[in-house]
C-alpha cells in the first residue's frame, strides 16, 4: 500500500522543507502527515503573540528548537500604542522553560522583555544559542549579564533598536573566558558611556567565528582600529561614533585596520561623522553591499564621494542630506542597488532644509534596474513622477512613501495623488508592502483593491473620503494580512460589511477614524475568532453614547480567545461577556 512509508522517511523528507508556508501545507495533506510534521517541526513563527497561546503551540509542536514572536502592532513604533498595552514575553518563556528544555533560539520583535524573562531564559535552556530582541523594551543590563554568564554556547546576541535600561557597562564582563562561540553581537542600542571596552576587546579577540559586530555610540573612533584588528574576519560591522579630531596617525591606523578586513561587506553606525575620516573606508568600499548612513549628518558632496566608491552596493540607508544630486550619483554608480531608504534630517521643519525632491527617487528608479524596496521621506511629489517610477520599476515589491506634510497634493497640478499610487499598484504586480501619503481620495483605494492582489501590508494615513475607500481594500486585496490606518474617515459600514475578511488577516489597526463603539461591540460579539480591542486613554468607551467613535481600535484573529493581561485603558469586546475588562 502506498501509505506504508515509514514515518522516518517522511520525516527525513520534511526536514528539507524549511519555509513555514510549505510546512503548513504539508500538515494539511492528511492526518498522518499532520502528525509526523508536527513532531518534527523545529521552527515556529508567531506573527502575533496573542493569536495563539503558548500551551497551544507546545501541544501541537512538542519539539521546537527555535521560536520567533511578534508583539505590539507596527504603529507602536510611532508612539501610537500606549505604554503598557501588552506584548509580554514572560508567559511564553515560563511555559517553554518546562516544555522545550532544548530550545536554542528566541527571536522577538516589539515585545516587553523583563530581566526576569532573561534570567529565566538563562537558566532554563542549556543549549541556548540565539537571542534577538528587535525593538523590545523592559529589560536592563542586569538581564543581559545573566544571559552572558549562563549561556555557554551563545552564538547570537542582537539587541537591535531595543530600549535597554543601561545600569552598567560591566555586563559584558560576565561572558566567561571560556565563551568563544559568538558569531553575532549587536549592542548598538546601548547608551551607556561605560561599556567595558577592555571586556569587549577580549571577548572579540577570543571569538574566531565572530561575523557581525555592531558597537554602540560609546565606542570612540580611535578604538575601532583595535577591535577590527582583533576580528579581521568580520562580515558586518557597526561603528560607534565616527568622529574625532583629524590626526594622521589615527587615520592611517584606522584605514589599515579596515583594509585588513577582507570579508567586510556591510557597515552601519556612523553617529556623528567627521567627513575627513570617510576615506579610511575606501579600501573596503568596492566590496560593500550594505551601507547604513542613516544617522550620519554628512552632506551630499561627501556622500557622493563615498557612494561612488561602492559599485556593488545593494542596500543604502541615508539621510536626506544626500539630496537629489547624491541620488543621481547613486543611480549612475550603483547598478546593483536593491533597497533604498531616505530619512528626513529635519522632520518637523516647515520649510525644506535640503534639496531632496521626487527627482531623486525618479533618478534611482531609472538608473537602478534591481531596485525592489523603497522607503522615502520627502516634501513634494507628483503623479507624473509616481507614474514614471512605476513604469521604470515594475519589479518593486515594497514601496513606502512619506510626504511629510499630511494631505499634500501633486505639487504640479494640485490634484490628489490617486493616479500616481494607482500606477504603482498597477505596474508593480508583485508589490507586497505599500505605505501611502499625500492627498488621496477613495479613488486610490479603488486602484489598490483592483490591482493590489499580492499586497500583504498597507499603511494609510490622512487619506480617503468615505467607507468606500476601506471597502475597496478589504474586498479587493486578496493577500492582505496587515492593515493599519490612522486619521481616515472610515467608519462602521465597510468594517461590518467585511467582517469575515478580518479573519483572513493577521490584524487591523485603526486610530482616529470613525468606527463607533457600537460597531466594535457588534464585531466582537459576532466574530468569536477575532479579538476586538478598544484603546482609550482618556475615558472608558461606554461612558459615551455607542455611536461615538472610538479612539483606537486593534482587531486581530486569534484562536486563544481574549487576553487577560490588558491595562485599564484597553477594552476587549467579547461575545461571552459584553465588555471584558
Amino acid at each position: 500500500m502506498a501509505y506504508s512509508f515509514p514515518d522516518e522517511v517522511l520525516e527525513h523528507v520534511f526536514s528539507f522543507i524549511q519555509s513555514d508556508k510549505d510546512r503548513n501545507a504539508v500538515s494539511l495533506v492528511c492526518k498522518s502527515w499532520y502528525e509526523i510534521e508536527r513532531w518534527c517541526r523545529r521552527k515556529v513563527f508567531i506573527g502575533n503573540c496573542y493569536a495563539v497561546s503558548p500551551r497551544m503551540v507546545i501541544r501541537r509542536f512538542p519539539e521546537v528548537r527555535s521560536i520567533k514572536l511578534k508583539g505590539k502592532p507596527h504603529f507602536a513604533d510611532f508612539n501610537l500604542v500606549p505604554d503598557g498595552w501588552g506584548g509580554y514575553v514572560l508567559p511564553w518563556i515560563a511555559e517553554m522553560a518546562g516544555a522545550y528544555p532544548w530550545l536554542e533560539e528566541i527571536r522577538l520583535k516589539r515585545m516587553v522583555v523583563t530581566d526576569e524573562s532573561l534570567e529565566l531564559i538563562a537558566k532554563s535552556f542549556k543549549n541556548f544559542k540565539v537571542l534577538v530582541l528587535f525593538s523590545c523594551e523592559g529589560f536592563s543590563t542586569d538581564g543581559l549579564a545573566a544571559i552572558a554568564a549562563s549561556c555557554k554556547n551563545l552564538r547570537e546576541l542582537d539587541l537591535r533598536e531595543s530600549e535597554v535600561d543601561d545600569l552598567s557597562g560591566h555586563w559584558l564582563a560576565h561572558f566567561p573566558e571560556t565563551c568563544t562561540s559568538l558569531v553575532s553581537l549587536n549592542i548598538s542600542c546601548l547608551r551607556s558611556d561605560e561599556v567595558s571596552f577592555s571586556a569587549l576587546e577580549r571577548l572579540v579577540g577570543r571569538c574566531p567565528n565572530l561575523r557581525s559586530l555592531r558597537l554602540n555610540r560609546a565606542v570612540t573612533l580611535d578604538k575601532i582600529a583595535n577591535i577590527l584588528r582583533r576580528a579581521p574576519q568580520l562580515v558586518d560591522f557597526g561603528t560607534g561614533y565616527y568622529a574625532a579630531e583629524l590626526q594622521p596617525d589615527v587615520f592611517s591606523n584606522l584605514a589599515g585596520a579596515f583594509s585588513s578586513c577582507k570579508e567586510l561587506k556591510s557597515l552601519s553606525g556612523f553617529w556623528d561623522v567627521v567627513p575627513a575620516y570617510l576615506p579610511a573606508l575606501y579600501s573596503i568600499c568596492p566590496r560593500l553591499t550594505s551601507l547604513n548612513l542613516s544617522y550620519a549628518t554628512i552632506q551630499s558632496p561627501d556622500l557622493i564621494k563615498l557612494v561612488s566608491h561602492c559599485p556593488r552596493l545593494q542596500r543604502l540607508l541615508v539621510l536626506d542630506y544626500v539630496e537629489d544630486s547624491g541620488l543621481e550619483e547613486l543611480a549612475s554608480s550603483c547598478k546593483d542597488l536593491q533597497e533604498l531608504r531616505v530619512f528626513p534630517s529635519d522632520p518637523f521643519g516647515a520649510e525644506p532644509n535640503v534639496s531632496l525632491t521626487e527627482q531623486g527617487l525618479v533618478a534611482v528608479s531609472l538608473g537602478c534596474p534591481k531596485l525592489r524596496s523603497v522607503l522615502y521621506f520627502c516634501r513634494r511629489m507628483s503623479n507624473a513622477a509616481l507614474v514614471t517610477i512605476a513604469q521604470n520599476r515594475p519589479n518593486l515589491t515594497r514601496f513606502r512613501l512619506c510626504i511629510i506634510e499630511p494631505k499634500t497634493p501633486d505639487y504640479l497640478t494640485l490634484e490628489p495623488l490617486d493616479v500616481g499610487f494607482g500606477a504603482i499598484v498597477e505596474h508593480c504586480k508583485d508589490l507586497s508592502r505599500l505605505s501611502l501619503s499625500g492627498l488621496l481620495t477613495d479613488h486610490v483605494f479603488e486602484y489598490i483593491g483592483t490591482y493590489g492582489k499580492k499586497l500583504e501590508m498597507l499603511s494609510v494615513a490622512f487619506a480617503g473620503d468615505s467607507d468606500l475607500g476601506l471597502h475597496h481594500v478589504l474586498s479587493g486585496c486578496e493577500s492582505l494580512r496587515k492593515l493599519e490606518i490612522r486619521d481616515c474617515p472610515f467608519g462602521d459600514k465597510a468594517l461590518l460589511a467585511n467582517a469575515a475578511k478580518l479573519e483572513t488577516m493577521r490584524s487591523l489597526w485603526m486610530s482616529s477614524c470613525a468606527v463607533s463603539f457600537g460597531a466594535c461591540k457588534l464585531l466582537g460579539q459576532k466574530m468569536p475568532k477575532l479579538n476586538v480591542e478598544v484603546i482609550d486613554e482618556t475615558e472608558p468607551p461606554d461612558s459615551r453614547p455607542e455611536s461615538c467613535p472610538v479612539d483606537k481600535l486593534y482587531i486581530y484573529r486569534s484562536v486563544a480567545g481574549p487576553r487577560f493581561d490588558m491595562p485599564p485603558f484597553v477594552w476587549t469586546m467579547d461575545e461571552a461577556v459584553r465588555i471584558l475588562h
Partner: protein, 305 residues
C-alpha cells in the same frame, strides 16, 4: 476601472430619515447595521452603480425599492452570523456588499473635530512616521551638539538655536528655524514610573512648556479618578500636588549623569535637555534629594517658556 460597486442608495434612510444626517443616537448604529444586512441578503438586487468619485456623497435619500424584510423600517433586526459569510466569501466585485456612501460625511467631520486633521505637523502624534529609536538619535545628536557649544544662555532662546543651526548647516543649506528638535521638539518622550504601579507610562515632554503643565498631565495619568477629565485644565494655575511637596508622592527625575533629582529645581529648558526619565516617588523615600525650595526656583517653575 470596472467599479461595479454597489451603492445601497442612501438606504440607511430605512432607519427613518436619511442617514446622511448626523445621527448620534443609538438607532443610527442599528440603522447602519440594517443597511448592511439588507444588502447582504439580496446581493443580486443591487443594481445601483456607483459613479466613481463624482457621485460620492451625492446619494443621499435615494431609496431603492427594497424587497427586504419590511421590518427594517423600525429599530430593526440585528445581524446574525449568517449574514456575514454570504457577503464576503465572494471577494469579487459583482454581488459584493453594498456600502452606503451617505452618512459618512459625518465621519469625515468627526475626524477633524477629534483633531484628526492636523493644523500643522507639530500637532500630530506619531507623524511623520519615524521610529522612536531614530527620533531619540536625532535628539541625542542635537543635544550633544548643543552641549558642545556650551550650555551657556539657557534663558537665551536664540543662542543655542543659532549654534545648532551652524552645526547642522555645513554647506550653507537653508536651515529652518525649527531645526532645534528639542525646542520645537516632538521627540521628548520619556518614561514615567510611579512607585507601587507596575506599568510605566510615557510622557511627551515637549508637549509642555512648564512644570505645572507637566505635573498636571502626570497627575491625570496616574492619579486621576475616572471622571476627572471633565474637571480639566483650569488647574494649570493651581499649584500641583506633585511639585509642592505636600503630597505623599513627589516627582523626581534621573538626569544625564544618572543622578536622581527633585523636579522643579532648575529652569524648565535645562530640565528638558538633561532629563532621562521620571519617577513619581514616595515622599518618604525622597530624602536626600536636592533641596527644593528657593524663592527664585518657585518663580521659575510657574513661569511658562
Amino acid at each position: 476601472m470596472e467599479g461595479e460597486l454597489v451603492l445601497l442608495g442612501g438606504g440607511g434612510g430605512g432607519g427613518g430619515g436619511g442617514s446622511s444626517g448626523v445621527s448620534t443616537n443609538e438607532s443610527a448604529v442599528l440603522s447602519k447595521v440594517e443597511v448592511v444586512s439588507e444588502a447582504c441578503s439580496y446581493p443580486a438586487e443591487s443594481e445601483l452603480e456607483l459613479g466613481l468619485g463624482l457621485s460620492l456623497g451625492g446619494a443621499t435619500g435615494k431609496t431603492k425599492p427594497a424587497t427586504a424584510t419590511s421590518s427594517w423600517g423600525e429599530c430593526g433586526r440585528i445581524l446574525t452570523a449568517k449574514d456575514f459569510p454570504s457577503v464576503v466569501s465572494h471577494r469579487t466585485k459583482n454581488g459584493g456588499p453594498s456600502v452606503s456612501v451617505s452618512g459618512t460625511k459625518r465621519a469625515a467631520e468627526s475626524v477633524s473635530h477629534e483633531g484628526g486633521s492636523p493644523t500643522g505637523i507639530s500637532q500630530v502624534v506619531g507623524w511623520p512616521p519615524i521610529r522612536a529609536y531614530r527620533m531619540n538619535s536625532l535628539v541625542n545628536q542635537a543635544k550633544s551638539q548643543r552641549a558642545d557649544e556650551g550650555d551657556s544662555g539657557i534663558g537665551e532662546k536664540d543662542k543655542p538655536k543659532d549654534a545648532l543651526k551652524k552645526k547642522l548647516n555645513y554647506n550653507g543649506n537653508k536651515i529652518s528655524s525649527t531645526t532645534t528638535v528639542n525646542e520645537k521638539g516632538h521627540l521628548g518622550f520619556v518614561k514615567v514610573n510611579m512607585d507601587g504601579i507596575p506599568i510605566g507610562r510615557k510622557v511627551d515632554l515637549n508637549a509642555h512648556s512648564c512644570y505645572q503643565s507637566l505635573a498636571q498631565a502626570l497627575e491625570d495619568m496616574f492619579l486621576r479618578s475616572t471622571n476627572s477629565v471633565g474637571a480639566e485644565k483650569e488647574q494649570l494655575t493651581k499649584a500641583s500636588k506633585l511639585l509642592d511637596g505636600s503630597f505623599e508622592f513627589v516627582l523626581t527625575y534621573e538626569d544625564k549623569e544618572g543622578d536622581w533629582m527633585l523636579v522643579g529645581d532648575v529652569p524648565w529648558r535645562m530640565f528638558v535637555s538633561s532629563v532621562r526619565r521620571l519617577r513619581i516617588m514616595r515622599t518618604s523615600e525622597a530624602n536626600g534629594l536636592a533641596p527644593r525650595f528657593h524663592d527664585s526656583n518657585e518663580r521659575q517653575r510657574s513661569k511658562p517658556f
